[in-house]
Symmetry: C2
Subunit: 301 residues, 2 copies
């Protein structure tokens, strides 16, 4: 088994790729949209967020030998889907949240109607980024990326998970159903990010693809388990959003189901599952993917 990257190496890798992602988002988001809409789109996307999904795309693309011009577009596209989902999630008719990443939410800042439209436009922009007509990305890769993103974002992915979540408030879910909800709500886009990264390569072996899918699935679930733990253990200023929200709204969580220690054990088991999948991938360059898995489980926000 390869050595685990130390903190300095991960920080350097993240710094390099985060800079590229921020530059690209700054260049691409809300530029030619009508003034207030463009402002709302940029407010929702720029200067905030851990950019975990873009980093997963970049790491998976590196591991598979992907086209870097495809990877940066795929990385931005998954972040736009994530950002739009937060904007819509925060609306009064959903979670009615006023604080996000330490700033007023988009609808507080721009009004509900423009927040709604900004979310809608961000989803469209995600697919626009994936389909450049400048010859930098092959049509085959463009089509595959659009397919993976659409599936991860839609009714059988993120939006479907949100609908189950909506219907679950105050309802007793067992672990299997909680897992299914999270597999869709947050897992689909995290797993999709890994698959999209791999799809930036013209050819990926079936074994590698299968391994990356398993890694993405385990990581997606681990992310949510840790989220549930942090909702209980962290404070709002560290999180940059309202802590204790899920517990207060009587939503089922891994902590309410397994207890705090049980949830921590679960997170470690999923980390081990993700790392084992990478070991079996046959890919040589999985250092960044390994390091990101540790980062997800060890994070404090």
């Amino acid at each position: 088994m390869a050595d685990r990257w130390d903190a300095a190496r991960l920080a350097a890798w993240c710094g390099l790729h985060l800079r590229a992602v921020e530059d690209a988002l700054t260049r691409w988001v809300g530029i030619d949209a009508p003034v207030k809409l463009g402002d709302a789109m940029r407010y929702a996307v720029l200067d905030g967020g851990k950019r975990l999904r873009p980093l997963l795309v970049m790491a998976a693309s590196e591991s598979a030998g992907g086209n870097p011009k495809a990877a940066i577009r795929a990385a931005c596209s998954v972040e736009l889907i994530h950002a739009y989902s937060l904007v819509h999630d925060d609306l009064p008719c959903m979670d009615n949240d006023v604080l996000r990443r330490g700033k007023p939410t988009v609808h507080v800042q721009f009004g509900e109607a423009d927040a709604l439209l900004a979310g809608d436009a961000l989803q469209a922009l995600a697919f626009e980024l994936l389909t450049p007509d400048d010859g930098s990305v092959t049509p085959q890769v463009q089509a595959t990326l659009c397919r993976l993103l659409a599936r991860a974002a839609g009714g059988q992915g993120m939006a479907g998970g949100q609908a189950i979540d909506l219907a679950s408030v105050g309802v007793a879910l067992d672990e299997a159903r909680l897992r299914e909800m999270h597999r869709l709500k947050t897992g689909a886009l995290l797993q999709g990010s890994v698959e999209m990264g791999a799809a930036c390569a013209d050819v990926v072996s079936p074994t590698a693809l299968q391994a990356l899918r398993a890694y993405g699935a385990a990581l997606g679930l681990a992310f949510q388990v840790v989220d549930d733990i942090l909702d209980v253990t962290a404070d709002s200023s560290t999180l940059g959003k309202t802590a204790g929200k899920d517990a207060a709204s009587d939503k089922p969580t891994y902590v309410s189901l397994l207890g705090l220690d049980g949830a921590r054990d679960q997170a470690q088991a999923l980390l081990a599952e993700a790392l084992a999948a990478l070991e079996g991938s046959g890919l040589s360059d999985v250092g960044a993917l390994r390091a990101l898995a540790y980062m997800v489980v060890d994070r404090d926000r």
Copy 2:
């Protein structure tokens, strides 16, 4: 100049293609989504609407010799974008409308949160339909269709037009700015439908493509002018939505700007422009496109 189709021929052509579109939408929309979300998606899309955009896709694809399997997917995808925009447009934070196509709007029927998610999932599904992995549509055509749809739907298309519309209530717009707003709000997706139809063919001459774009642009604007006329002249039961809404909400319209007769003259001029574009396309089989242009301008709802 070719003869104009008579009513029976147009009805037969529309009947054939509408059946195919309805069948496909029934097969594809909301099938594997969680129960209530799938129901809301199907409610928003099925059993209603004139299906003008799908018909434009089918007619343009026929004129260009497009792949029928691509065309039916493109036809459904533009209708899903249209349907999602209506669901979001009807929400309380936007137009707050309770009646659509003679039925309660989606948020009245399913609640605001599920209406929001259903719209979001419909947008994702549109791109999923465009990217099948069964070999029926070439990656080149898939990528081009996704590009055209994303541009037509996003901040520089439909969503951008809605944002300008939002900002225009009670504001005096001159005709040029009103035209710009509508070019985006409704025109972009109508023009996009025509372009997507043409893109279902592997090869289209630049002349034909340019002509179809001009046809789509003129038709898109004509559609809106007629919409403004009907808002004043038709009643709610014929329209299937609230008549007189724009006038009541002090939104600028072609009628408020040009008067009723001036708006009617404008619609006829745009019809002539659309027909002239087809004449110059070099395409032989434009009978359906011609007939649809007449239909748009002569419609009563």
